[in-house]
């Protein structure tokens, strides 16, 4: 057994012999200080970037194919190229509103290595000619806020941020902003609305994406914390070394957060596109198998919004494109594992309830549909289900996300996978996300639903007797 294990001061982080592109400093107790950061090659990437032309730095990022780590997995270098030329000012917004169920990797990056994120922001600003960056951090992460604020103060004091950075003509201001705890603000256009001081509700994207019309109507790049945290290492080591990690299509490493019925849940940095789900869940370096040697029933491969996977999908690599083709998404890299003791309907309800509560209330199908789904599931669990409920659930799902919903293959029933992404009648994917647990479980475990509805395998709630006589209890 390797000696590596949890790092006490980086809660949940498991130190192993995997790649160390973004988590290299987590083993140090003072990893969040400028002193430690400078002692471990800190701000070297920025220094090297400043010696090159901005276009050159942009080219480096494009060549490295740094895929977005927030959910959609779009290459950062390409996204940066979408900004219309000459429409100054441009803004960089860092999405630190990590709130996808099961995800807790960005929090660690912000708490344990804030300077790495700041340096990543500076490199981005330099590459794109930006002078203003907004760090939007989720309100429920006070430690991340405190460490980032302290790091920013240190960086300003040392001349890494502010006017004439490192004695050059390059100047950037970074503004730290607290969120107020809405899940939807993790969606980039809702985040922009919130940053502008409005209620966090998504904007319709086509025809205008934030890169064209974003914060205050200006071209805006919204990047995830982990994405930007890759850049310092990339600038120091170059894109060739970066691409030596991971797979051809998905280079580099990736942070994943595993939770649920495994022996060692935690955050791991893995080889992107190489490590498989089986490695991750059963490997000694990683989660060390299912608890009590139980059977794996199902797992969510990429955050609460992802359609579910089953044991048949265990040998897929953790790679966005592959997972998408197989009917789900890698999303935010959160894997939630459920063993054979899990009640599929209850599990579905738990996630659907999250989406119902977190719907921003803008689009009718999401606002009304998610709550309706939640109430039907609750009713089924309460023993008040009706035979028509299963088809009704699927039809409500179809009204939120029309057409075949992405789902994994089921060889036992001879069913093929429906590839990601789903269609939607809503502006953002929150509503369609609530559909994932329903379609995934009904397709695979319809019998569990039917058992609850027809066989009444839980005690039905009885109506009070019509008689006015008091009922003897006990």
């Amino acid at each position: 057994m390797p000696t590596y294990d949890y790092v006490p001061h980086a809660p949940g982080y498991v130190d192993n012999d995997g790649p160390k592109i973004v988590t290299s400093r987590f083993v140090h107790e003072d990893s969040h200080t400028l002193e430690r950061y400078e002692a471990t090659n800190g701000y070297e990437g920025l220094r090297r970037a400043l010696d090159r032309t901005p276009a050159d730095v942009h080219e480096e990022v494009r060549d490295a194919v740094v895929l977005g780590r927030g959910g959609a997995g779009f290459p950062a270098g390409v996204k940066w190229g979408f900004m219309p030329p000459g429409k100054f000012p441009y803004y960089l917004v860092v999405n630190g509103d990590e709130s996808e169920p099961g995800t807790y990797k960005d929090r660690l990056l912000m708490e344990r290595d804030p300077h790495q994120l700041i340096e990543g922001c500076l490199i981005t600003c330099y590459a794109l000619g930006l002078s203003q960056c907004f760090l939007y951090v989720r309100g429920e992460m006070p430690a991340a806020q405190e460490n980032l604020a302290q790091a920013l103060n240190e960086a300003y004091a040392k001349g890494y941020v502010g006017k004439n950075i490192m004695g050059t003509e390059f100047s950037v201001d970074i503004t730290l902003t607290w969120g107020a705890g809405a899940y939807i603000v993790g969606e980039e256009t809702a985040l922009i609305e919130s940053l502008e001081g409005n209620r966090g509700m998504p904007r319709l994207k086509p025809p205008f994406f934030p890169a064209a019309i974003g914060l205050y109507g200006q071209p805006t790049i919204v990047n995830n914390v982990e994405t930007l945290s890759n850049l310092p290492w990339l600038l120091v080591n170059g894109f060739e070394q970066y691409k030596a990690h991971g797979s051809e299509a998905s280079p580099g490493s990736r942070m994943v957060a595993v939770s649920g019925h495994v022996n060692r849940p935690g955050v791991y940095e893995i080889e992107q596109g190489v490590t498989t789900f089986r490695d991750l869940l059963y490997g000694d370096n990683f989660c060390r198998g299912i608890r009590n040697d139980n059977e794996l029933k199902m797992f969510v491969p990429g955050g609460g919004s992802a359609p579910w996977f089953f044991p048949e999908q265990l040998d897929l690599p953790l790679e966005g494109r592959t997972v998408g083709a197989e009917g789900s998404m890698l999303g935010s890299g959160a894997i939630m594992v459920m063993d054979e003791t899990t009640d599929a309907v209850k599990a579905a309800l738990r996630l659907v309830r999250f989406y119902a509560r977190e719907s921003c209330g803008k689009c009718t199908p999401c606002r009304e549909g998610t709550t309706w789904e939640e109430r039907i599931l609750q009713r089924i669990l309460d023993g008040e289900g009706r035979p028509s409920d299963i088809d009704k659930l699927l039809d409500i799902a179809d009204n939120i996300s029309p057409g075949p919903y992405p789902v994994a293959a089921d060889p036992s029933q001879g069913l093929d996978a429906v590839p990601f992404p789903p269609k939607q009648t809503t502006i953002c994917p929150l509503g369609p996300s609530s559909v994932a647990p329903i379609t995934s479980t009904i397709r695979r475990f319809r019998h569990e639903y039917e058992a609850k509805i027809t066989k009444r395998d839980s005690i039905p709630v009885m109506a009070a007797p019509m008689s006015s006589d008091p009922v003897e209890v006990g």
Partner: protein, 820 residues
């Protein structure tokens, strides 16, 4: 080939298999509707920004990447776009949205005011499923909660379309209602302890697509299918907003805004919308009254008219006066002018009450329309009252132009206004010195910036530099405590700007019609001076007569035998209460032609003739642009009240003259012949302009000449008075409107807080305000929007009338403020 020709002026879209031509940038939902395909919608409103919230207008759109469901209210048409509004996918999505909207919507249609005219009900009847699949308990909220004094909100019925909240935020700028909570608990509400006290709250009721918002005056009054309606014109102010008057059983029950592109875009101020309540008031005059032993007693028309004729017969025309007439239709105004000037031979006729502007300033300067003022890229200079308080619908148009279309707004006003927050420059001259500031602004445009009226040179230079495109001056009396001459001089100065146009901000309903119909001294119908003569009149006065102030002065000294109050209340409105009282007391016979008794009628009229209201007569109104639009009779007058033109005709007959008027149409025909500017106002033109009206232009009135008056400096102990109107005041019509009467705030004296220390006073203190003319008591209020050295008191506010402080003959009024 020019660049313009190179650009294709239309976009071709395939709509349900048929190619249609759409305008570039047009939204799909609008393009489809123009071509006969109505896409269902709840949140979309053509006068507000799209939000794509309700998702009802989802249609299948293929822009080259395969068909996808898109909200047609947010997608601009694109060349080669293929749209299917009838596909299976479209129908399924729309049915799904409809079901989602209905699951929590209460089934209280039978008791809902919207039932029968409800888009949600209509859509459901047309396309919805017959049965509900929703077996759960519906969402519950407390049934209607009052969110303001007039508007109730039923959150159970609300479908969260964002229309009311968008209106409050984007259109009115009163961000007082908003979404709160999230998910299924999302609801519209006010902020705690802050009611939706907006002058425009009634618009949210009109645009609500369900029965969530209801207004007190119409709640449970009628069912939509029992209503009869006609398009007419609002009469409360001079914007001339187009309205639909709806009535049932011969009673007006509701007014709705009509989307006239040149005027009000469908919006109304609450005063316009709910003002009809006064017309249904129990206080309406239903029979003529005559004063017997000091008391008004009801009588018949025959004795009343005989008494009026006796008073008027054989009187020296110079000793007869007519004050008022802005309430009347153009046709009635013409008849009264013909009676006064053509039959009685007096030129002492004035529709304004000393609180307006001289004729030359309104008719003698180049005029602009609302649309010209609001054209993108132009500049508006406000020299006049706060449009938000005086001319609600104009305020909404100007606000839209400044916020959305890049119109530059420069204010030259004595205090902050409802537009100040969005104005490019708010310059506040000392009261009585706006003429100096206007001249300085013109100087600054030509490069010579200097201090003026207490405003520093750099501020004036910055304002001058911001002027772009042609200028529209919104011109009116910002304060009745300073003389009209100051405003006229400011207008003369600004008229030197290149391409300038003037938009009158005189407030009273049909005051512009009154001027066009000759209801001012020295004027005849058709914007012509007396010397131009009038063929249709038996005689025309040769001497220019007296205006209201002069008439009251003459009456006070016993030189007026008959004074006709034509829908006017000098005691409340003439900015010199003392003069008004002396004038009314000193006049011989006072004859009032009125809908509702007012202070002047009750105390001084010897004879009262009941007049019909605007909803009870046919005719036309003229708005502040000179736009003539139809006012149509919807109900019959109460009791024996008559149209004003009939009263004029009856009086003329009894005086032995025939006005030759038989109906509003016959009067209009005569106006079109008599007035050179109304020649094109044919019945056909009016019918064609049923919504937009007919714009009357041209004038034979000469431009005003500078008064040469100067404003004296005030001493260190006094403050200079600003007397400005508020939307809700003690006016007769407003106080007779049940749901609006309580909205008038009681009188306050507002000072800049920096003046408090100097005076040793604080906000809330009750003070005595003393002028050379009189005094009043009122509490103090603080507002940095009032410049230091000025004291703002609203006109005709409940409590005390600021007019008691004002001397009509002085150019400004200085007051001392003391602890009471």
């Amino acid at each position: 080939m020019t660049a313009v020709e190179n650009e294709k002026s239309t976009v071709t879209v395939t709509l349900n298999g048929v190619e249609i031509e759409a305008n570039p940038g047009e939204l799909l939902i609008d393009a489809a509707e123009r071509h006969g395909t109505y896409i269902p919608r709840f949140c979309y409103h053509s006068r507000m920004k799209s939000v794509g919230m309700c998702r009802m207008c989802l249609v299948e759109v293929d822009s080259g990447r395969g068909p996808a469901l898109q909200p047609s209210c947010m997608i601009p048409v694109g060349e080669g776009m293929t749209v299917d509004t009838e596909s299976e996918a479209t129908k399924k999505a729309q049915d799904g949205v409809l079901e989602f909207l209905l699951i929590n919507h209460p089934l209280d249609c039978p008791v809902c005011d919207k039932g029968g005219e409800c888009p949600l009900q209509d859509q459901t009847v047309a396309f919805g499923p017959g049965e509900s699949r929703f077996v759960e308990e519906k969402r519950h909220y407390e049934k209607p909660i009052p969110i303001s004094d007039t508007v109730y909100l039923d959150r159970e019925r609300c479908i969260l379309c964002d229309r009311c909240t968008r209106f409050a935020d984007d259109v009115a700028g009163d961000t007082l209602i908003h979404f709160m909570d999230r998910g299924n608990s999302t609801q519209v509400n006010t902020f705690p302890d802050e009611p939706f006290a907006s002058y425009f709250s009634g618009n949210t009721v009109q645009i609500c697509p369900v029965g969530a918002l209801t207004a007190k005056p119409y709640r449970f009054k009628a069912r939509p299918w029992d209503l009869e309606e006609t398009i007419s014109t609002a009469w409360i102010d001079s914007v001339g907003s187009r309205v639909t008057i709806q009535s049932s059983r011969n009673q007006v029950l509701r007014l709705l805004g009509v989307d006239a592109d040149s005027v009000n875009w469908g919006w109304l101020s609450d005063k316009e919308r709910f003002g009809f309540e006064a017309l249904n008031s129990e206080d309406r005059l239903t029979a003529p009254m005559v004063r017997v032993d000091g008391r008004l007693e009801a009588t018949g028309w025959a004795p009343a008219l005989a008494a009026a004729t006796d008073a008027l017969r054989d009187v020296d025309p110079a000793r007869i006066g007519v004050i008022g007439g802005a309430r009347l239709t153009n046709e009635s105004q013409y008849a009264w002018t013909k009676l006064a000037k053509g039959v009685l031979g007096t030129d002492n006729v004035d529709a304004q009450l000393g609180d307006g502007l001289p004729v030359e300033a309104v008719l003698g300067l180049p005029r602009a329309t609302i649309n010209q003022a609001c054209t993108p890229g132009r500049t508006v200079i406000l020299v006049g009252p706060d449009p938000k308080e005086d001319l609600g619908a104009l305020f909404l148009r100007l606000r839209h132009a400044v916020v959305n279309d890049g119109t530059t707004l420069i204010e030259l006003t004595p205090t902050r206004t409802g537009l100040s927050t969005i104005a490019a420059h708010s310059l506040h001259p000392k009261p009585g010195e706006v003429d100096l500031l206007a001249a300085a602004l013109v100087d600054a445009v030509s490069g010579d910036a200097h201090d003026a009226a207490g405003v520093p040179a750099n501020a004036i230079a910055a304002a001058a530099a911001s002027i772009s495109g042609p200028v529209t001056v919104v011109l009116g009396r910002a304060s009745v405590a300073e003389s009209a001459a100051v405003t006229v001089d400011a207008a003369i100065a600004l008229s030197q700007l290149e391409g300038v146009g003037f938009l009158s901000a005189l407030r009273r309903g049909n005051v512009h019609g009154a001027l066009d119909m000759g209801m001012a001294p020295g004027l005849l119908p058709g914007r012509v001076p007396l010397r131009a003569g009038c063929d249709a009149f038996d005689q025309v006065p040769t001497e220019v007569g007296m205006d209201t102030i002069a008439m009251l002065e003459a009456a006070a000294s016993g030189d007026l035998d008959v004074l006709v109050l034509l829908g006017s209340d000098p005691l409340s409105d003439v900015p010199d209460a003392d003069l008004a009282e002396r004038g009314l007391a000193g006049a011989g016979t006072v004859i009032a032609v009125e809908m509702l008794p007012n202070a002047s009628t009750l105390t001084h009229a010897d004879l009262v003739l009941p007049a019909a209201a605007p909803t009870e007569v046919d005719g036309t109104f003229t708005n502040l642009e000179g736009r003539v639009s139809v006012a149509e009779q919807k109900v019959t007058p109460p009791g024996t009240a008559r149209a004003d033109w009939m009263i004029a005709a009856e009086l003329a007959l009894r005086l032995g003259a025939d006005l030759g008027v038989e109906s509003p149409e016959s009067i209009r025909a005569e106006i079109a012949v008599v007035s050179p500017v109304h020649a094109k106002l044919t019945e056909t033109a009016l019918a064609d302009g049923r919504v937009e009206g007919v714009l009357i232009s041209g004038s034979s009135i000469e431009a005003p000449t500078a008064s040469g008056s100067t404003t004296p400096a005030n001493d260190a102990y006094s403050l200079r008075l600003v007397a400005a109107r508020r939307m809700y005041d003690n006016g007769t019509m407003l106080q007779a409107s049940a749901s609006s009467a309580g909205l008038a705030a009681s009188v306050k004296v507002t000072l800049n807080p920096t003046d408090f220390e100097k005076l040793g006073l604080d906000a809330g203190t009750v003070v005595k305000v003393i002028s050379g003319r009189g005094e009043l008591m009122a509490p103090l209020a603080a507002d940095f929007g009032v410049p230091a050295g000025s004291a703002m008191i609203p006109t005709n506010a409940p409590g005390s009338n600021v007019n008691t402080l004002i001397d009509a003959s002085a150019s400004v009024t200085d007051v001392r403020v003391e602890r009471a």
